[in-house]
Amino acid sequence: MHGRLKVKTTEEQQKAKQEERAKKLKLYTAATSKAFQKRKAGELDTELLEITGQVLHVNPDFYTFWNIRKETFLHLHDAKESAELQKLYRGELDFLEMCLKVNPKSYGTWHHRSFVMDHMPQPDWARELELCNLFLQFDERNFHCWDYRRFVVKRSKVAAVEEFDFTTSKISSNFSNFSSWHYRSKLLPILHPDPTQPSGIAPHVIQSEFELVQNGLYTDPDDQSNWFYHKWLLGRGEQNQRINYAYISCVKKQILVSFTKAIKIGVASCEVLLNKSKVNVTWTNQNGTSAFSTLWISFPEFICL
C-alpha cells in the first residue's frame, strides 16, 4: 500500500540490533588488544592515540587507556616540536569534550583534562572556565565539573570574588546545590578573613550569609543543602579555649603547650608565670612559624629549680 511506511518487525529489529552489537563488540575488543600490544612493544605514537581514542569515545571510563594516552603524550614531548604538540593537545581537548558528552561525570576524563592543561605549551584557561560554565549550566550539581573548575581557577588565578559571584548566581537559579554552597564556604575565608581565627570569616559576612540561607530555609525547609550550609555557618566552632596539656622540661629548657583550639600567639597572648612573676618567653608553633596552631613551643632562658 502506498503512502504507508513498511516498518521492520520486532524480530527483525532485534536481529538487526544483535548483529550491530556483535559487530561493535568485535571492533571494540580488536582495538583494545591492539592498543595493549602496541604499548607492550613500546610503540607510543599517534596511531596508539587513534586506537585508544576510538575505545574511549565509546567508553570514557576505561582509565587504563587514559593512562596509556598520558604516557604517549609524555613520550611525544621528546619527539615533537612545541607547535606540533600544541596542536596535538588542542585536538585532545576537543576529543575530551566529545567524551564528556558521552559521560559528563567520568573521573578519568576530567582528570585527563587537567593533565592536558598542565602539559600543554600554551594552555587557554579562559576557554576552560567557559567550558565549566557551560557544563554547569546543563547540570549545576556536577561535582566533577566543580572540581575541575577549582583546578582551573587555581591555575589561572581567577579572583575569588568572581568565583563567589558565580556561586551566588548558581544558588539563585537553584539553591539545592551542595557544590555551590561548599565552594562558598571555601571562598569566604579567603575573601573575608577573620584575624582572630584560622580560616575564620568576618562576623558581618556571616550575618549576610545567614540571611541568604534563611531565604532558602523559608522557601523549602525540606531541602538539605540549606541546612548543611546553615550548620556550617552556625557551627563555626565556638569551642572554649583551654589548655589540653602543658609540658615543662628543665633539662631541655623547653615549654610545650597544647590548646583545644588553634590560636595565634601575637594576636592572642600566652603568659608564663614563674613564682607569680611573669617570665618573658617567645613562642613558635611546631613548624617554627607564628601561624595559627594548637601547639606552641618556647625555649625559655630561665633555669629550673
Binding site: M1, H2, G3, R4, L5, K6, V7, K8, Q13, A16, E97, M98, K101, R127, E130, L131, L134, Q137, F138, S172, S173, N174, F175, S176, Q214, N215, G216, Y218, T219, D220, P221
Partner: protein, 711 residues
C-alpha cells in the same frame, strides 16, 4: 486539472487550523489516505502567522470573506451525482474576522535625517537631538486611514521601499546603533565624547534596550518586514501539557523550536512586578518577606497535590477562589499573585477551578527550566504546519487555495464525498471540517461571542530586565470583577517574531464591546500614549513605557465551543476554532476524541518508527501496486525518504529537551555559540536544524507547486 487529484480518499479535511492538522496527521500516520484542503493560500487558517507585508492582504481577504469561487454549474453538478445522492452547497462567504485595522504610529524618516549616516559620528551626536526635535513627522498623519495603510503604504511591496526613500541599507544598519548608544550615554549625563565612542562599538542588545530610546521611522520597520511574524492566535504550551506530550510522542517536536516564557508579571497599583512562581524565584525574590516566602511555598506545595488533601478546601469547592485564598491567611500580595498570575483566574472563579489551574501551572514548572510555558519560535502558526508536515511525510496530500463547494450526502444522511471548488468529485469515508467551511445549520454555537485581539510592535519591553524576557501578564479589569481579563503576551526579538530591538505584544480578551474600547484599558496601562516629542523630554527613563510603532486590531468570532447539530451527516465531524484560552491542550483532547470515534482501535499519533527500521520500497514497484495513484505515491515516497533520511529520528526528542532546558533566550544563544566551538552535540543540533529548515522550505515550495498544478 481535476483529474490531477485521486478520486477517492479515506478522509478529507477542510481547513488547516490546529485541530484539523492534528487529525490529518493522526489519520495519515495509521495509513489512511488523507486529502487536506485549505481555501486560503497560506497554512493554518485562523491559527496562521503573517509577516508585516502579508497583513494588508489578509485584511482585504477577510473583508471579502469569500470561501471559494465555484466553477460548478447545475448541469455539471447533476452529472457528478450518483444515485441516491444529493448535493448540499456550502456557504460561499464566511465572516470570522471583524473590524480588522492595521496602523503605523510612526512617520516617515525626514529628509535631513537621511543624510546623517554619511556624516561623521561626532557631528551626528550634536545634529541628532536637534533634528529629532524639529523634524518629527506628525504621527497623526498616519492615523487618518482605516484598515488600509494610508500614504505610508505608498512604497510598493516589491522592494522599492528601500530605494525610493534613499536609504542605503548597509550604512543605515550600522550607523544609527553606534549613534544611539553614545546618545544614551549622553543623556545620562556622565559620558563625554570619547567614552561614548568607546562604548558605541558594541551594543549589548538587552542592556541597550532598557535605556535606548531610539527614534523609529516607517522605513526602519517596513524594511524588516520579513522578520515579523504576527500570530492571529498566539498560544503558549504548558510544559507538562498534552500538546508538549504529543509533540514529543509524535516526533513533530523536531520540526519546531521553542523558547521559554521567562517571566510572569502582574500589574498592581500601576506597578509591574515579576511574580515569583518557582522555588528559585521565591528564593531570590526581594518582593517577599521571609514569612511570605514560607506561606507562598506552603500554599503552592499544597496546590500541587490539592486533590490528595480534600479536607484543606472542604466547603469551599464551589465558593469563589478568592474566598478560599483569604481563608488561608495569605498576605494580599500573595493572594493577588496566586489568583491572577498563577491560577490566571478572575474573582468569580470557583475554588475548584482555581486549584485545578494552579496545579496545572505548577506541574509544568521545572520541566524545561524555571518556567511553566513554552512559546514556539517564529510564532504559533508553526504548530499546525508541523503536523501538516508529519501528515505529508506519511502520504497526506495537501492542496492550498482549493475548497469544497458541495457536500454529497446519501439517503442515510451520510457524506459520500465532495465536489471541490474546481469541480472535481472526490469520494471519502469521513470528512473533518473547520466550522467556517460548513453550512450554519451543521453546527451549534452555544453563545455567539467574539475575541478582541490587538497586536502591537513596540520599541521596548513593558518591564526592562537583565536579559530579553518573554513575558506573560494577566490584566484583570479593576472594579469589574465579572469583566473578562486581558491576556498580554510580550515577545522579545529572541522569540524570532520581530527584528532586533523591537517587541511584539499580543493582547487577547473576550469581547465586551467594540474593539478599541475592549483593549483600551490594557493599552493605556502598558503603553506610552504621549507623542514622541514629550517622550523625548521625559527625563526619568526607568519609568518610561514602551511606545507603539505599529498596531493591528481585530475581533475574531469565537468558535471554540461549537458542537455538532442533528443535521450534520454522521460521518462528518466539525472541529472548533481558536478560543481565548492560553494554551492548545483543548485541541489535542478534541482531536483525540474525534480520532477515537472514527478509529477506536488505533493509537493517536504514535511515535514514528526509527529511520533505521524503515524498509524502502522500490519506486518501480509502487505504481504497479497503486495503479492510477502511481504518480502521487511516488511523490509521497520521495518526500518520506528525503525527510526521514535527513533526520536522526529518535535523537531529536532529546534534542528538544536539551535545547529548551535552559532558561531564557540569552542563555540559549550563548549555549549555542559555545556549542560551535566546544560541545559538539549542540553544533550537530544546529546542522540538523538547518537541514530540516531546508527541507521544510523545499516542502513548502513543493506545496506551492502542487497548488499551481491545481489552478
Amino acid at each position: 486539472m481535476a483529474s490531477d487529484l485521486p478520486d477517492e480518499f479515506d478522509v478529507i479535511v477542510l481547513g488547516t487550523g490546529l485541530p484539523e492538522t492534528l487529525l490529518a496527521a493522526a489519520f495519515s500516520r495509521i495509513g489512511l489516505t488523507v486529502l487536506h484542503l485549505d481555501r486560503n493560500d497560506y497554512y493554518s487558517g485562523s491559527w496562521a502567522s503573517f509577516s508585516l507585508r502579508q497583513i494588508p492582504g489578509w485584511i482585504e481577504g477577510q473583508k471579502k470573506a469569500q470561501c471559494y469561487a465555484s466553477e460548478v454549474n447545475e448541469e455539471k453538478l447533476s452529472s457528478l451525482l450518483k444515485e441516491g445522492e444529493r448535493a448540499l452547497q456550502l456557504p460561499e462567504t464566511f465572516h470570522t474576522v471583524f473590524e480588522a485595522q492595521s496602523k503605523y504610529h510612526v512617520g516617515e524618516r525626514p529628509k535631513e535625517e537621511k543624510a546623517i549616516p554619511d556624516s561623521s559620528p561626532s557631528t551626528d551626536e550634536s545634529a541628532k537631538p536637534d533634528s529629532t526635535d524639529t523634524s518629527l513627522p506628525p504621527a497623526t498623519a498616519s492615523e487618518s486611514g482605516d484598515s488600509k495603510i494610508p500614504e505610508l503604504s505608498g512604497p510598493s511591496p516589491t522592494g522599492d521601499a528601500e530605494t525610493s526613500t534613499g536609504i542605503v541599507p548597509g550604512q543605515f544598519d550600522s550607523a544609527p546603533e553606534e549613534e544611539e548608544d553614545s546618545k544614551t550615554e549622553k543623556r545620562e549625563g556622565e559620558a563625554t565624547g570619547p567614552a561614548g565612542e568607546a562604548s558605541g562599538g558594541k551594543v549589548e542588545p538587552a542592556a541597550g534596550e532598557q535605556k535606548q530610546q531610539r527614534e523609529w521611522f516607517f522605513e526602519d520597520i517596513e524594511k524588516e518586514w520579513r522578520k515579523f511574524s504576527f500570530d492571529l492566535t498566539p498560544k503558549l504550551l504548558y510544559c507538562a501539557g498534552s500538546m508538549v506530550e504529543l509533540l514529543i510522542v509524535s516526533d513533530v517536536a523536531k520540526y519546531c523550536e521553542f523558547r521559554t516564557v521567562s517571566r510572569v508579571l502582574t500589574l498592581r497599583d500601576n506597578n509591574l512586578e515579576r511574580v515569583p512562581c518557582s522555588r528559585a524565584d521565591v528564593f531570590s525574590s526581594k518582593a517577599l518577606s521571609l514569612l511570605e516566602k514560607r506561606l507562598l511555598m506552603k500554599f503552592l506545595t499544597f496546590a500541587a497535590e490539592y486533590d490528595k488533601q480534600p479536607d484543606e478546601y472542604k466547603g469551599f469547592e464551589d465558593k469563589p477562589f478568592v474566598e478560599f485564598l483569604a481563608s488561608k491567611k495569605l498576605s494580599p500580595k500573595i493572594q493577588y499573585f496566586i489568583l491572577h498570575a498563577i491560577a490566571m483566574a478572575t474573582e468569580s472563579t470557583s475554588t475548584k477551578e482555581g486549584l485545578e489551574n494552579t496545579q496545572k501551572f505548577l506541574r509544568s514548572l521545572g520541566r524545561y527550566g524555571n518556567t511553566a510555558f513554552l512559546f514556539p519560535l517564529y510564532g504559533s502558526g508553526e504548530l499546525p504546519q508541523g503536523f501538516c508536515r508529519l501528515s505529508a511525510v506519511f502520504g497526506g496530500i495537501y492542496v492550498l487555495t482549493l475548497s469544497v463547494s458541495h457536500l454529497l450526502v446519501n439517503d442515510e444522511n451520510k457524506c459520500t464525498g465532495v465536489i471541490t471548488s474546481a469541480g472535481q468529485r472526490i469520494s471519502c469515508k469521513y470528512l473533518i471540517a473547520d466550522p467556517s467551511y460548513l453550512p450554519k445549520d451543521f453546527y451549534k454555537v452555544p453563545q455567539e461571542s467574539r475575541i478582541s485581539r490587538g497586536i502591537f510592535v513596540t520599541d521596548s519591553s513593558i518591564l526592562s530586565g537583565e536579559g530579553e524576557d518573554l513575558s506573560l501578564l494577566q490584566l484583570p479589569h479593576e472594579g469589574q470583577p465579572q469583566s473578562p481579563s486581558t491576556t498580554v503576551l510580550e515577545l522579545p526579538p529572541s522569540a524570532m517574531v520581530s527584528p532586533r530591538h523591537l517587541y511584539v505584544v499580543h493582547m487577547t480578551r473576550r469581547a465586551v464591546s467594540d474593539i478599541s474600547s475592549d483593549l483600551e484599558p490594557a493599552v493605556s496601562a502598558l503603553f506610552d500614549a504621549t507623542t514622541p516629542d514629550a517622550a523625548e523630554s521625559d527625563k526619568v527613563k526607568d519609568t518610561r513605557k514602551p511606545r507603539v510603532l505599529w498596531s493591528l486590531h481585530f475581533q475574531h468570532r469565537d468558535l471554540s465551543a461549537v458542537s455538532r447539530s442533528e443535521q450534520l451527516p454522521s460521518n462528518v465531524f466539525v472541529v472548533t476554532g481558536p478560543g481565548v484560552e492560553l494554551d492548545t491542550d483543548r485541541c489535542v483532547e478534541e482531536a483525540k476524541t474525534i480520532f477515537k470515534e472514527i478509529c477506536p482501535k488505533e493509537e493517536f499519533l504514535p511515535k514514528p518508527p526509527h529511520p533505521d527500521d524503515i524498509i524502502y520500497v522500490d519506486t518501480e514497484e509502487v505504481p504497479a501496486a497503486a495503479n492510477d495513484k502511481g504518480e502521487w505515491a511516488k511523490d509521497a515516497n520521495t518526500a518520506e525518504s528525503s525527510e526521514i533520511g535527513d533526520n536522526a529520528g529518535g535523537q531529536t526528542v532529546e534534542k528538544l529537551e536539551d535545547g529548551v532546558k535552559k532558561d531564557g533566550g540569552e542563555e540559549e544563544k550563548d549555549g549555542r555559540e559555545q556549542g560551535g566551538e566546544g560541545v559538539k552535540t549542540e553544533a550537530d543540533g544546529g546542522d540538523l536544524k538547518s537541514i530540516e529548515e531546508q527541507s521544510k522550505e523545499e516542502k513548502k515550495k513543493s506545496h506551492g507547486a502542487d497548488c499551481q498544478a491545481e489552478s
